[in-house]
Amino acid sequence: MKVLRNLGQCVNGFFNKIGKVTIYSREILKAFYQIGWMSLPVLGLTALFTGGALALQIYAGGSRFNAEQVVPAIVAIGMARELGPVLGGLIVAARVASSIAAEIGTMKVTEQLDALTTLSTNPIKYLVVPRVLAATLSLPALIAIGDSIGILGGYLVGINRLDFSSSTYLASTASMLQISDIFSGIIKGVFFGFIIALSGCFNGFYASNGAEGVGKATKSAVVAACVFILATNYILTEAFFNS
């Protein structure tokens, strides 16, 4: 109950503070750089190899009933709807939620959060709002880029290892991939970004007991973000595609 109450206060505080606008533009830009830009390499590599592996798996499975030609379509749809957003969300959660929780947790146990308050600066406005904004707006873009790189990974494997012609692969991808597939993944990204940043900030703010406490906060931030991402993904998938 205490955890839920604290989480409620944290979310409430976020929306209250964002309403009374004090924009720390430098902090927001820094958060975009650290959360969005710096996540690109690891996200890109993950998407590239996942797209490639997915193409191989679909080809191996499809060949059992002479359906090898579905590889481009399933790679594209799979990346855009599920693998891009979920893997992207989990990778960014591991990288960003841990980093936010460790940073804010260390500030908590070294009294830097108290110092912020004594220096007439609200820690929610200064630390939480920029990170939540940056993560919520960066994740959709990261996921769109990740989807493209994943499809590229499938394409490279398709034409180099599975004997697809480049034009056939691209035409099949373009004809099967619908705009709703892409947007469903991007909308998931908005939710995942919010979850990641909030989990990092919340666990950092409630860190205690020195280095051990910061370690626990970091672990909890990643675990909570991953679990919430997976659960939210299921709920959103039901909402988007069940009908």
Partner: protein, 247 residues
């Protein structure tokens, strides 16, 4: 002026403050001594509006401290934290002038840096330190930078939380002398938490001894060593036996 009236605070089942009253008139320097975990830091956090007391009231220059609106009184207060609490990601000059860069009172970067260098000089550090980061500083230098941050903007009240903890005797003496000098030149009211009896006598006029959430003794700092009070005697002589429960 600092006035703490009948403050009570409980965390879980543990009663930390049990009817504490402290009055520090304008321009005075008061030290709060007592055993570790005795609630001294909680008093400071209540004064800053970071913690809400269960009962009682706190006034800073006759303005009531509010947990919901700490900004009403915070602008009058400078605070030196026990571990310095400098922001690792910012250079020294931005740490010192943080409230003028990010807080409600705004200064340009150029003016803020100039002000930071002036305050560094007040604490015996030269301008070259301004561009360094906290990780590049020794413990003593961090304390001085934190002291510069506490005095920037000429606060009316300065709170010191164990200002000399972890410092060698020479640096302890340097910091105490700086605090004394600042208190005298700035005409501020100070409240200092410390375990160090020599620091008490160097930087404060009045002393209060806190034990088990209550003030057990109040007096002048020069009366401390000659006091026959059993709490004071046990505390300053470091005796295990006596009215203070050390377990």
């Amino acid at each position: 002026m600092i006035e703490i009236r009948n403050i009570h605070k409980t965390f879980g089942k543990q009663k930390v403050l049990d009817g504490v009253n402290i009055f520090a008139h304008k321009g005075s320097s008061t030290a709060l001594i007592g055993t570790s975990g005795g609630g001294k830091s909680v008093i400071l956090k209540i004064l800053l509006g970071l913690i809400e007391p269960d009962e009682g009231e706190v006034f800073i220059d006759n303005v009531k401290v509010s947990h919901r609106e700490p900004g009403r009184t915070l602008s009058r207060i400078g605070m030196l934290f026990q571990g310095s609490a400098l922001f690792d990601s910012l250079p020294v000059w931005q740490n010192i002038c943080f409230k003028f860069l990010k807080g409600t009172e705004k200064l340009s970067s150029r003016d803020a840096k100039e002000l930071a260098i002036q305050n560094l000089e007040k604490v015996g550090l030269n301008y070259k330190v301004a561009n360094k980061f906290p990780a590049d500083l020794s413990g003593g230098m961090k304390k001085r930078v934190a002291l510069a941050r506490a005095i920037v903007g000429n606060p009316k009240i300065i709170l010191f939380d164990e200002p000399t903890t972890g410092l060698d005797p020479i640096m302890t003496n340097t910091i105490n002398s700086l605090i004394r000098e600042i208190v005298e030149t700035m005409d501020v009211t100070t409240l200092t938490i410390t375990h160090d009896i020599s620091s008490v006598q160097q930087i404060s006029d009045n002393v209060a001894l806190l034990d088990s959430g209550r003030i057990r003794w109040k007096g002048k700092s020069k009366e401390l060593k000659g006091s026959k009070d059993p709490y004071v005697f046990q505390f300053i002589n470091g005796k295990h036996n006596g009215p203070i429960n050390v377990n």
